[in-house]
Symmetry: C2
Subunit: 269 residues, 2 copies
Amino acid sequence: MPRPTLSNAARPATFTVDARDETGALKPTPIAGEHPLTIYIDNREILTIMTLGAAPEALVLGYLRNQRLVDSIDEIASVQVDWEVDACAVTTRHGLKNLDEKMAKRTKTTGCGEGTVFGDLMEEIDSIALRRDVFVEEDTLFGLLNNVRLHESIYKQAGAVHGCALAAGENILTFVEDVGRHNAVDAIAGWMWLENVSGDDKIFYTTGRLTSEMVIKAAQMRIPVLVSRSGLTQMGYDIAKKVGITMIGRAVNRHYLLFTGVERLVKAA
Amino acid sequence: MPRPTLSNAARPATFTVDARDETGALKPTPIAGEHPLTIYIDNREILTIMTLGAAPEALVLGYLRNQRLVDSIDEIASVQVDWEVDACAVTTRHGLKNLDEKMAKRTKTTGCGEGTVFGDLMEEIDSIALRRDVFVEEDTLFGLLNNVRLHESIYKQAGAVHGCALAAGENILTFVEDVGRHNAVDAIAGWMWLENVSGDDKIFYTTGRLTSEMVIKAAQMRIPVLVSRSGLTQMGYDIAKKVGITMIGRAVNRHYLLFTGVERLVKAA
């Protein structure tokens, strides 16, 4: 099956506006872009996402995948983003079955500000077995944290974005920043889908908090190691323990807190 | 009309789990609570919110208000949260008209990880006129920032939460922390609805980023001054300028950046 045809419609990430600081000085200040993007599948309106627009095609693919609206990337013929009308037209090869039913399900279980088909995902979690033969050396973790630091261009300029990375060891395979951390993780999922990259020996890094949804999405991608600069929530912790994911929080420079799945993190001899 | 009958079902905000740091030392670490809460209106399931659970009744009220599912607080007889079943039962006095239609609208326009009926809100924005005779002295702003610092108990302990405050001058009227910044702002809106507090001479403070949705919600509450510790997005900035809100970002200690509505911030003579 050929790959879907994609537009390449990344938006400029930052814009500079004038601000005044407490001394009264004029400070030209870069701010993050934010744009509505309305997704259509075969001409049917699905929803509007607010996004930085750095990786809109991957974001839309990842959204469709993570919301379980499309089962296989092979079903998608084309993803075309047009910022003139703030729209993304997704064309399927043969039409989608049960779209109404799937949309209805999404409605009932989508959390406010969470964006996940929560009930379904919790069921799915029970069937996930992560690889137990994947290990990360502490120095690899530190190397990855340093590589992330070098990547974060938009955050450093403008703040107001979250970044996510998929890494093989300390090497970043793809890095996405967006105004919502849900968007950033969806865009990573979209990229993996498109490139047919397995998560089962990878590390997922996020600047954002490890809430239930982030842990569920990492588990769905079969990624055994989850690293965050930030903290975590109780439910994120509980799910990580249940599914056996290695969860590392507060990871900055050469510091971290290892919460669950301790056997995968290996200290140098 | 009597007030709705409310449960008083706040959850403990933090839980302590064990972690290991980079030295191998065991660190008991407080983490933020996160719980699913499924909202029912007159026995009909609406959706599941993930929340810290610090102010669940106000959160549900604010959600119903901000999603425009209920027009007036007088329509609500009761809001009962029961954590045994992770559910909140909302009972209306006379049933809700057009709930299906409103739910359908919500579906189409709710953004991924944004949770707003975006299209409608943008239309509503055009009709909002904020008070022009409300001013904030710089020292009042600094006093408020100090008061916020004293309030942030959960963030200081566990991170992984956002805080929002409604203030009259430097005095905080209500302060809510939650795992999602959308939840925190919804809970503030719910409190204002319940207590019949007008926003038109108030200050809204948030630890979170000033995205389009945050600015729209502040404008809907008729609050003329919006302060954040974090940065802002382009669309947040554009809407703030359009609606004439005073927007202050990067506000920490005695520093800030004033972006829009500069006439409301007054420096000491």
